[in-house]
């Protein structure tokens, strides 16, 4: 009897030897059907080999190619094998999750249309095809979905603006320039369930009357780009893209191009300079046409919202943060990976129950939430609920859902300096507070750290931070001071 084995194929699993595991399996004298699935996002267990059994898929953690011959010495290993994790679905990391947007990652072979369809793939698109544009936008509005890229703007309102904008030509642009440190869920969706993103973009096209789309994917994600291209080609051949032209465009390493107007400039083939607003991209976006610009996760959440209805999605979450948040546990963390849960869990639940504390085993000193522009949150705030408003109340932001953990050996004064250094490196240069302020920020922090008039320079740094916040054109200069201010406030000994 043929045994079905799953070998993950996302970038992380491959970097940990998954391809070699697949090769070792092929060389076995067993009757195996080897499927390259994506990844479940349980990254600390990769390569996570799975074997199909009548009871379900059982997992084997951190499989090495060298272990394969032993593991399969008596045919396919069973659940009583000492290396076995048991049923993967029942795993303590996975079971408490509510995977809506990432429902299929790791379950399917990423570019298999059959696999995709077998798990409700294209159910949302089929529904949308029998609805009016107005009704689709209404469902998205009712779902309470807010932009998952970081700005948390209501997706339905953005779509309504584009729908109502009179124009011959409109565009759907997917922002896949996932540059924030500590985030990788966009990559997981693109590498493990690309049709979900494509379906979301097709629905967006129907909703606003757009017939052309671009996925602007960062150059640091070569596998995501090839996977998307393969998925687009396959979906095109199967007829799913009829009437909609979709292209992947490779970015070129500029963090600022994750800002939506800089992204549009870049797609137009220009320097990624931030645009003045108004006009909003929804009115005058790509090539001056009304444009939906959404993050990967926002778009990949659309299919399930259409398939299962606005209520189903909205019923998850807390307060004004509806649905689920794809939290990414990163940095110095024991069990790093993807945790999709309803809004409202506390930071502590994420860091301890899921994350298991630091990888180093030392106490957690701080967590940077929401990427390089997010605040450093000290341990006495770990009972904060993870939703947009509660985080704002403590001067932090959820951003794209990344949590980067630092243990007590971290030098947060250095990290504050790095925030300014990064801003200086990545500033597009259009506005002065960001372009000059960030350089001055590094200089002032250096002075404080070397003991040069520290009290006066701290006042100067506070003032500089406020100027950048008030005067910058976009979130880069406007938020780069947040990590600096948070270190000054919560870790005054370090800056």
């Amino acid at each position: 009897m043929t045994t079905r084995v799953y070998v993950p194929s996302d970038s992380t699993a491959i970097s940990l030897g998954a391809d070699a595991v697949a090769v070792a399996l092929q060389d076995l004298p067993c009757d195996l059907e080897i499927i390259r699935n994506g990844s479940r996002g349980l990254h600390w267990l990769e390569p996570l080999l799975e074997i199909d059994t009548p009871a379900g898929r059982i997992g084997f953690a951190e499989t090495k190619a060298a272990d394969i011959a032993d593991l399969f010495a008596n045919g396919a290993p069973a659940i009583d094998h000492p290396n076995c994790l048991g049923l993967v679905e029942e795993h303590a990391y996975l079971k408490p999750q509510h995977r809506l947007t990432s429902a299929r990652i790791g379950l399917i072979s990423p570019c298999s249309l059959d696999h995709y369809r077998s798990l409700d793939g294209f159910a949302g698109l089929e529904k949308a095809r029998n609805m009016t544009a107005d009704d689709i936008v209404q469902v998205v509005t009712d779902s309470g979905l807010r932009g998952r890229g970081g700005a948390a703007f209501p997706t339905g309102i953005k779509w309504r603006t584009v729908l109502d904008a009179p124009a011959e030509k409109k565009y759907i642009v997917c922002n896949a320039d996932e540059g924030d440190s500590g985030t990788f869920v966009d990559r997981l969706i693109m590498e493990c369930d690309p049709y979900c993103l494509i379906e979301g973009m097709l629905i967006a096209g129907l909703a606003v009357g757009a017939n052309e789309g671009f996925i602007y994917c960062r150059a640091e994600y070569p596998l995501a780009i090839t996977t998307l291209q393969r998925a687009i080609d396959t979906a095109t051949e199967a007829g799913y893209l009829e009437g909609f032209s979709l292209q992947v465009r490779k970015a070129a390493g500029a963090y600022i191009c994750g800002e939506e107007t800089a992204l549009l400039e870049s797609l137009e083939g220009k320097r990624g300079l931030v645009r003045f607003r108004p006009p909003l991209p929804a009115i005058e976006g790509l090539f001056g046409k009304p444009t939906v610009v959404n993050n990967v996760i926002s778009l990949a959440s659309i299919p399930i919202i259409l398939a299962k209805g606005a209520d189903h999605y909205r019923d998850f979450g807390s307060g004004r943060s509806r649905g689920t948040l794809t939290v990414q546990l990163a940095g110095n963390i024991r069990r790093g990976g993807l945790v999709e849960v309803p809004f409202g869990l506390t930071l502590r639940q994420l860091l301890e129950d899921f994350g298991g504390g630091t990888a180093s085993g030392r106490p957690i000193k701080a967590v940077q939430a929401g990427g390089p522009l997010g605040a450093y949150i000290p341990a006495d705030h770990f009972d904060t609920a993870m939703d947009y408003e509660t985080f704002k109340d403590i001067g932090a932001m959820l951003g794209h859902g990344g949590l980067v953990v630092f243990d007590d050996s971290a030098d947060l004064g250095h990290m504050a300096r790095f925030a300014m250094e990064f801003c200086a490196l990545e500033s597009c240069g259009k506005c002065t507070p960001c372009r000059i302020g960030s350089v001055r920020g590094v200089e002032v922090i250096d002075k404080i750290r070397s003991g040069e008039q520290p009290d006066d320079n701290r006042i100067l740094l506070q003032d500089l931070c406020q100027t950048m916040i008030d005067g910058s054109l976009c979130a880069l200069g406007g938020m780069a001071p947040f990590p600096v201010q948070s270190v000054m406030k919560h870790f005054p000994d370090e800056l």
Binding site: T12, W44, G182, R187, A254, E268, G272, E426
Partner: protein, 155 residues
């Protein structure tokens, strides 16, 4: 490569892209994939084919971190400097790579084998610190592993 050959190759590579919308980044990636960098002598030709000024083309090349105007080493080693990797000791990797290769970021080793680049997030943050050698990602890289990678790669 003489200028005529270069111009001919540039034309062959990017003329098919003229009909694309906003083709400049596409064109530059295509050239860099082919030559390994964007030869400065090709700029006038790119500008002419895409109906842009040379200043516009130069402006775009110099804006983006990915584009190079000089040939890189045989392998490009990108070390992640973003927060997640810093939380796991990437600064040590950075220092070691610079020492072992005898170069700073944005430089190529004297033997022409390695170019060293900083990168700000490889999206592998659950398994930090990460580095990338060409398109090959490496997770939880220790100093020993880095040494091995640089030695193995250079042999």
């Amino acid at each position: 490569m003489d200028t005529n050959t270069l111009e001919q190759q540039t034309r062959t590579l990017i003329e098919p892209l003229v009909s694309e919308s906003g083709p400049l980044l596409l064109a530059l990636h295509t050239l860099q994939d082919h030559f390994g960098y964007i030869p400065p002598e090709s700029v006038p030709c790119i500008a002419q084919i895409l109906n842009l000024s040379r200043a516009e083309v130069h402006g775009v090349i110099s804006f983006y971190h990915s584009f190079r105007s000089e040939p890189p080493g045989k392998k490009i080693v990108s070390i992640c400097r973003a927060e997640s990797c810093q939380a796991m000791g990437s600064a040590d990797l950075e220092a070691r790579a610079k020492k072992v290769l005898g170069i700073d970021f944005h430089q190529t080793s004297a033997d022409g084998l390695f170019s060293l680049e900083p990168v700000y997030c490889l999206g592998n943050c659950a398994c930090s610190p990460a580095i990338m050698i060409d398109d090959q990602l490496h997770s939880r890289v220790s100093l020993t592993e880095l040494d091995q990678l640089l030695e193995v790669e250079s042999s």
